[in-house]
């Protein structure tokens, strides 16, 4: 069973649907017993970093998630991926889960071409930098769907794939131990996204 963490943030319906489509059993939950019993954990998220961390803190699940991330495949999606890092600079400085070294910064500030639109929203090609079982069913250059204004940086050692936007390599997929994160939405990335979820379900 894959536990999808319900902390009042994000579209859990689509993630559950995507996982169901690849034949995985899912449970949307905030119960520590169910999360501990799960074989895998998915941390979703949409919205602002500080607000999401506050909500996650309010559930009391942070120690549970940090512990589980050491022992089973764990996937953060979009803002859920950003939460894996040490800190974010979105509307002030906020501390993250600290599962992957790095920080989350304003994409607009790092783009030299100021005419480029932010949010970075739409389909961008995935450049795989390091082979990993997560890419078992996808090829280099397949397109995935992004919607975000902040991005993870100073995390090259844990970066598996990026997408190029202007002169910035947007961190697309990260991994450290059993902890994975995707800045894009695999549950909205068509067949490519479903194949990534399938690989995650088989890790």
């Amino acid at each position: 069973m894959i536990a999808i963490i319900d902390y009042g943030v994000g579209n859990l319906f689509s993630i559950a649907g995507g996982l169901k489509a690849i034949g995985a059993e899912t449970e949307i939950t905030r119960d520590p017993v169910r999360i501990t019993a799960a074989e895998r954990v998915v941390l979703p998220g949409v919205g602002a970093f500080g607000d999401a961390m506050d909500k996650l803190r309010a559930t009391g699940l942070i120690p549970v998630l940090k512990h589980e991330a050491e022992h089973k495949p764990f996937l953060g999606i979009c803002l859920g991926m950003q939460l894996l890092f040490d800190k974010s600079e979105e509307y002030g400085e906020h501390e993250g889960l600290g599962l992957i070294p790095g920080r989350v910064c304003d994409l607009r500030r790092d783009l030299s071409d100021k005419t480029l639109k932010v949010p970075h929203m739409g389909w961008n090609a995935l450049e795989i930098r390091r082979d990993d079982p997560f890419f078992k069913y996808v090829r280099n250059g397949e397109y995935v769907y992004y919607v975000h204004s902040f991005y993870a940086k100073d995390c090259a050692v844990n970066t598996l794939a990026v997408s190029r936007y202007g002169d910035v390599d947007v961190t697309g997929v990260v991994c450290r131990g059993k902890v994975y994160g995707t800045q894009f939405h695999p549950e909205k990335s068509g067949d490519t996204g479903l194949r990534l979820l399938k690989a995650f379900a088989e890790l």
């Binding site: 689509s14 949409v46 602002a48 639109k117 739409g122 936007y165 549950e187």
Partner: protein
């Protein structure tokens, strides 16, 4: 870089997909869930559902269709039609929509965009505009293109973006249903005023019209309905055609 997007639009009335010429003479085409699945499989980059139902019963049918579609289709879904309050945003987002488009609702209540953007983020709020030339001015029309609001379209767009609209759908009433190409003059004028993604709507009749559209760098996506529903243009074929022309496409 980001690929240009091809977006089929499904106008749903009482649980069925319809598409009219210049907004009148609606004709039934197909089952929305089946059509959505077909588009997902043929490479559509996103789907737009417009609920043009008036009755409460029709609205219930619509949310049910949305839920069924979201459970089977794994590309972004934008929903519009009858969005007047933040509660309406909530209702469709809970059914699996990723973005919500506002049109007449934002004209009636200009604070709607700001309230929704604050709650759900800019990326979630799409400002959809039906625009027609009146005395040499681009004018916003409400109520499905029937009522001249007197608003200047470019000012309205700029104000909407300032309040938090993350994307604009520009539907030209002048070119809608005529199939002679997108309204490039109107689209360029909008692109010069706002910095959010622009989705062009109204006027696509063939594949060349999309190729022409994407030579205009300020335009991010092309939206159409009848030419896709009637299979006059096949999305898979269109995307290969555009890629050969040098347009970045997800194929």
């Amino acid at each position: 870089m980001l690929a240009k997007r091809i977006i089929p639009c499904l106008d749903v009335k009482d649980g069925r997909v319809v598409k009219g010429m210049n907004f009148t003479g609606l004709r039934d085409i197909s089952d929305p869930v089946e059509l959505a699945r077909y588009y997902n499989d043929s490479g559509a980059d996103e789907l737009v559902f417009y609920d043009i139902t008036a009755s409460a019963e029709g609205r219930k049918l619509f949310t049910d269709i949305l839920k069924r579609t979201a459970a089977e289709v794994f590309i972004p879904l934008t929903v519009g039609g009858g969005i007047r309050t933040v509660d309406d945003f909530d209702r469709v987002l809970k059914c699996g929509a990723d973005k919500v488009s506002v049109n007449s609702g934002a004209i009636a209540n200009p604070s709607l965009i700001g309230e929704a953007a604050k709650k759900y983020g800019d990326q979630c709020v799409v400002l959809s505009m039906d625009v027609k030339r009146v005395n040499g001015q681009f004018r916003v029309f409400a109520k499905g293109g029937r009522e001249d609001t007197g608003l200047d379209a470019l000012d309205w767009a700029e104000r909407g973006v300032g309040n938090g609209a993350g994307e604009i759908v520009l539907n030209s009433i002048d070119t809608d249903g005529v199939k002679q190409g997108f309204d490039l003059e109107m689209l360029d004028a909008l692109a010069a005023r706002v910095s959010v993604p622009i989705i062009a709507s109204g006027g696509a009749g063939n594949m060349e019209h999309f190729a022409e559209l994407f030579t205009h760098p300020g335009i991010d996506a092309g939206l159409a309905a009848s030419i896709f529903h009637s299979r006059q243009v096949d999305i898979h074929e269109l995307k290969h055609f555009l890629r050969e022309k040098g347009v970045e496409m997800r194929v």
